[in-house]
């Protein structure tokens, strides 16, 4: 039963309606049109491209690090440059790639998966992207001017404080944090409102796709975690700029306060990156085993509990600081227990594979690679949760191995699979299966060659963040192997990139539903029209494309002369009311620039803050002040 049939225009009114919708929802042309874009798919596409640019930059930084460490006492980089490069690598990957790419894919796909025409706050998406780009530009501008931050992606005080890190490097890092976290918060707020209120009629919470669940949970985590790093970086900026003493032990401040604040954010941060990937895995497993994922309820509860427990782990980053044993044991227990919901998910996916009919297409290969790599990383995580083990391997290459296993295995592999899966929907073309399989295997092998030896190096005493080491340490051979592995992995990723770029131009046409997927996104064209759905679908199943019949109703009656959307009720998605969304708007760019001026100015003078706040306020008035296209006026007017 093809659901695509239902959108055949059978009556003239439908064809006329489609034409009107195209007209109403289309983007304005030219530069102003581009700058004032509010379509979630177009902004998401920009976000995805920008995030992958940062991924490549972060990868080049990693290559530099690996080249330097390949031989003992190598002279490729001195300590100053090396310290900048590893700081840039970590900051780029964590702040400019990992979270933004997940938010970007969600920004594109979530409205399609829930049967909505748009997201709740279209201009907020644009603002988010602009602020993100400003943050990334600030960081890289500084780096290329040789004033990049050099105190590590988690920038511990007092090393990053006013006494030991003179100049503006750390201030630039602190404000980059502000921008990227603002961008993530904006995207998260948008997801919550959209997922709660824009779902198609009948898509109760218990019928929501698992990817949408993962994004909802991630959005809540962002709301409660990101403020911690913004607070921490702001307090650091204040210490550096106006001589407050939050982190200065000489005047009642505390260097450990930084670690608590940072890791209160830092631990949930990795789950913010990881949980959307879990949603991607569920999506891919279902599609490529041709059955609904086993254990929907267990999977949802696992995602929720991972989100919650993730907030209770942060002290495991601080086991070497000499905190009281009883407290540490609590965090050991929590850090081990979080493996249980992750385990439940793995078991559910294996059960799905067992009872389904797997097709070993590249998305599923990437998922299989994910299981291998992530489970290994999760098990080294259980080791790190143990205080005695951790105090040996903390701050060594063992940890570097662990987090690359869980982040690359747990997030990047599912992401590569998901991009392969949704690429046809976004571009209308299929990526090459053959190149996809090659890129998977080469990346998989290269990854393990690069990072597995690091476990051994850590146990052999190699600390993190050292720009060189002596030959007598005996670390040379494994480091050389790791560098060779990195080249292999880079090649595999390059193949993937080539696949994506060339398929974009020359790939086979995909049609609406090349994979036979279960979700609503496969019921519209590839790429979707600007308005996503001519008639919003209704839902009576978790797998609408597989289980709904020809009598499944569609929604009519939304206006096509305005960007009108349907708002539904929170739990059961009953139709509730209608809203009109803004179309083109240049205000998000203006407010982003004002925000940029404020926070970049603050690097140089505290006065930038009140002045910037005022300018931003004025720009915000421009955003919210009603325009002349007044609608539904109050009867009484002034």
């Amino acid at each position: 039963m093809s659901v695509a049939e239902r959108y055949e225009p059978t009556v003239d009114a439908d064809a006329e309606e489609a034409r009107q919708l195209r007209e109403t929802w289309k983007s304005r042309s030219g530069l102003i049109g581009w700058l004032g874009e509010t379509n979630h798919k177009k902004i998401a596409s920009r976000y995805i491209v920008a995030a992958f640019v940062f991924f490549i930059l972060g990868g080049l930084e990693a290559a530099l690090l690996r080249f330097q460490l390949a031989r003992p006492e190598n002279g490729l980089m001195g300590p100053d440059l090396y310290n900048q490069v590893f700081t840039m690598h970590g900051s780029t990957m964590m702040f400019l790639f990992a979270v933004p790419i997940m938010e970007a894919v969600a920004m594109y796909m979530v409205p399609l998966m829930i049967g909505a025409r748009a997201m709740a706050f279209p201009r907020l998406n644009a603002y988010s992207w602009y602020v993100y780009v400003i943050g990334g530009g600030l960081l890289y501008g500084a780096f290329f001017l040789n004033v990049g931050p050099d105190t590590g992606w988690f920038s511990y005080v007092p090393l990053s404080g006013p006494e030991f890190a003179p100049g503006k490097r750390v201030d630039i890092w602190a404000q980059m944090i502000t921008f990227t976290e603002l961008a993530a918060l904006a995207a998260a707020v948008n997801q919550i409102a959209t997922i709660f209120k824009y779902r198609a009629p009948g898509m109760s919470l218990s019928r929501m796709p698992l990817f949408v669940w993962s994004i909802l949970i991630t959005a809540f985590m962002i709301i409660f975690a990101m403020p911690a790093v913004m607070a921490a970086s702001s307090l650091l900026a204040l210490d550096r700029l106006v001589a407050t003493h939050f982190f200065n032990p000489a005047e009642g401040g505390d260097a450990l306060l930084w670690q608590h604040l940072f890791w209160f954010f830092g631990h949930p941060e990795v789950y913010i990156i990881f949980i959307p990937a879990l949603g991607m895995v569920s999506t891919i497993v279902a599609a490529f085993t041709r059955r609904k994922v086993f254990g929907y309820t267990a999977l949802v509860l696992s995602l929720v509990s991972t989100g919650f427990i993730g907030f209770g782990l942060w002290v495991h980053h601080m086991f070497a600081t000499g905190l009281p044993q009883l407290g540490q044991s609590f965090f050991t227990a929590a850090s081990m227990m979080i493996a249980i919901p992750s385990g439940v998910q793995i078991f559910c996916w294996i059960a799905t594979l067992w009872s389904g009919r797997p097709r070993l297409a590249p998305p599923l290969l990437f998922v299989l690679g994910f299981v291998f790599i992530f489970v290994m990383g999760g098990l080294t995580g259980v080791m790190l949760a143990s205080v005695p083990l951790d105090i040996q391997v903390h701050d060594t290459f063992f940890v570097v191995a662990h987090f690359h296993y869980v982040l690359i295995g747990g997030a990047v592999f599912p992401l590569l699979g998901a991009i392969f899966y949704w690429f046809p929907k976004m571009t209308g073309r299929l990526m090459s299966q053959r190149l996809g399989k090659w890129s998977f295997w080469i990346t998989f092998v290269g990854f393990n060659l690069t990072f597995f030896p690091m476990h051994i190096l850590g146990l052999n005493g190699m600390p993190r963040r050292i720009y060189t080491y002596r030959a007598e340490t005996g670390w040379g051979d494994l480091n050389l192997l790791a560098t060779a592995g990195a080249l292999v992995m880079a090649f595999g990723l390059l193949l993937y990139l080539i696949n994506a770029l060339s398929s974009w131009r020359h790939g086979a046409w995909a049609g609406d539903d090349p994979w036979g997927g279960e979700g609503l996104e496969w019921s519209v064209s590839s790429p979707p029209p600007d308005y996503n759905f001519q008639h919003l679908p209704t839902v009576s199943s978790r797998a609408p494309m597989w289980e709904q019949g020809p009598d499944q109703p569609v929604v009519v009656g939304l206006r096509s002369d305005r960007r009108e959307v349907l708002v539904t009720q929170l739990i059961d998605a009953e139709p509730d009311h209608r809203e009109t969304l803004p179309d083109h708007a240049i205000a998000p760019l203006a407010v982003a620039i004002a925000t940029g001026v404020t926070f970049v100015g603050v690097i140089f003078s505290p006065w930038a803050f009140p002045i910037g706040l005022l300018v931003t306020g004025i720009a915000l008035v421009g955003w919210f002040w009603p325009r002349d296209e007044s609608r539904e006026l109050l009867e009484e007017q002034p």
């Binding site: 001195g78 300590p79 100053d80 310290n83 105190t151 590590g152 511990y156 007092p158 090393l159 006494e163 030991f164 032990p249 260097a255 450990l256 086993f294 254990g295 070497a320 600081t321 000499g322 044993q325 540490q328 044991s329 050991t332 081990m336 249980i340 439940v344 793995i346 078991f347 294996i350 594979l353 067992w354 009872s355 009919r357 797997p358 070993l360 299989l368 299981v371 291998f372 489970v375 259980v382 080791m383 143990s386 005695p388 083990l389 951790d390 105090i391 040996q392 391997v393 903390h394 701050d395 146990l459 052999n460 005493g461 190699m462 600390p463 050292i466 060189t468 080491y469 340490t473 005996g474």
Partner: protein, 315 residues
């Protein structure tokens, strides 16, 4: 040199307990990993029946399998938790009060070591190299003079961060003689990579001999060349930062040099302690350890000869 800094080559009780725990975790985690992989491969590759109609029985047995695997995982984790907490309690408890007490102070990028004693005249300071008697517990008090560093001797124990404002204590014990290396294990700036200390564990008699030698002030310069070197030392900026006990040099910014020649390395493990390296280090520290706080000192080559001769006499 692998054995000089390996967590899997325990030379003391704490590192020993941790290593035991490591192997417990390692074998259990490896087994779990293997089982998961086998299940995964079986799930993908096993032959399926022609009809794939999902009968209730099928879903139920899957539910049982998932539930069972989850329960087993939980039990394993609880077991690992118990093993971990019990090991932690053993290795983190503080020693009996007859321990030898050493204070380790982290600086950018060297280690200040102060041997404590109730009797003032039995105290002494050194830098970058710790000697301990085999078989005796050592109480290590830690603090930092500037940024966060981390004291870590993998063969003996896990690490403890040196955090300004948070002095702490840990303890060590070596059960066999040997030389063990301890890299700084918390990023502390430009020369974090070159901030190592050595722990020399020796039989009690040898340790006592070393300790007695360290308690002495510096031997007065014997030969004319050494006397000239001594004069050169005092005339240069060196005493601003360095102490040589028994001379007017009393600076405390840099390492104590009283028994410099007794140490195996220079510049916190960055260089071997030989005349050539010492000369190079004094003339231009920035080439050896870029970013170090020691300024280059220019001097005539015969002054340098004399100075080196004097410094080499500081056993």
């Amino acid at each position: 040199m692998r054995d000089l800094h390996s967590a899997l080559d325990a030379a003391g009780p704490q590192a020993g307990r941790i290593e035991d725990l490591w192997w417990i975790f390692f074998w259990i985690c490896t087994t779990v990993f293997a089982l998961v992989l086998i299940a995964l491969l079986a799930a993908v590759l096993h032959r399926r029946r022609e009809e794939l109609r999902r009968v209730d029985g099928g879903e139920r047995s899957l539910t049982r399998a998932v539930g069972g695997a989850t329960a087993v995982s939980a039990v394993i984790l609880i077991g690992l938790l118990i093993a971990s907490v019990s090991t932690g309690r053993a290795v983190l408890s503080l020693p009996p009060s007859d321990a030898l007490t050493i204070e380790v102070v982290g600086h950018q990028w060297w280690w200040e070591i102060n041997y404590e004693d109730p009797v003032t005249s039995h105290r002494f300071s050194t830098a970058n190299e710790i000697h301990i008697p085999v078989g005796r517990p050592i109480r290590v008090k830690t603090r930092s003079a500037d940024v966060i560093h981390s004291f870590w001797v993998p063969n003996l124990h896990g690490k403890r961060d040196l955090i300004p404002g948070h002095p702490s204590e840990t303890w060590l014990q070596a059960d066999r003689a040997g030389v063990f290396r301890g890299p700084c294990a918390e990023f502390c700036g430009a020369q974090h990579a070159n901030m190592h200390l050595l722990v020399v564990a020796e039989p009690p008699a040898a340790f006592e001999a070393w300790r007695q030698a360290q308690l002495q002030t510096a031997p007065p310069p014997a030969t004319p060349l050494q006397q000239r070197g001594h004069a050169v030392f005092l005339s240069l900026p060196c005493p601003t930062c360095h102490t040589i006990a028994g001379t007017p040099a009393g600076g405390r910014v840099g390492p104590d040099l009283t028994h410099l020649a007794s140490r195996r390395t220079l510049a916190a493990g960055a260089l071997p302690n030989t005349k050539g390296y010492l000369g190079g280090w004094i003339l231009d520290p920035q080439t050896q350890k870029p970013g170090t706080k020691m300024p280059p000192v220019a001097m005539q080559s015969d002054d340098l000869e004399a100075l080196l001769s004097y410094l080499e006499s500081l056993r």
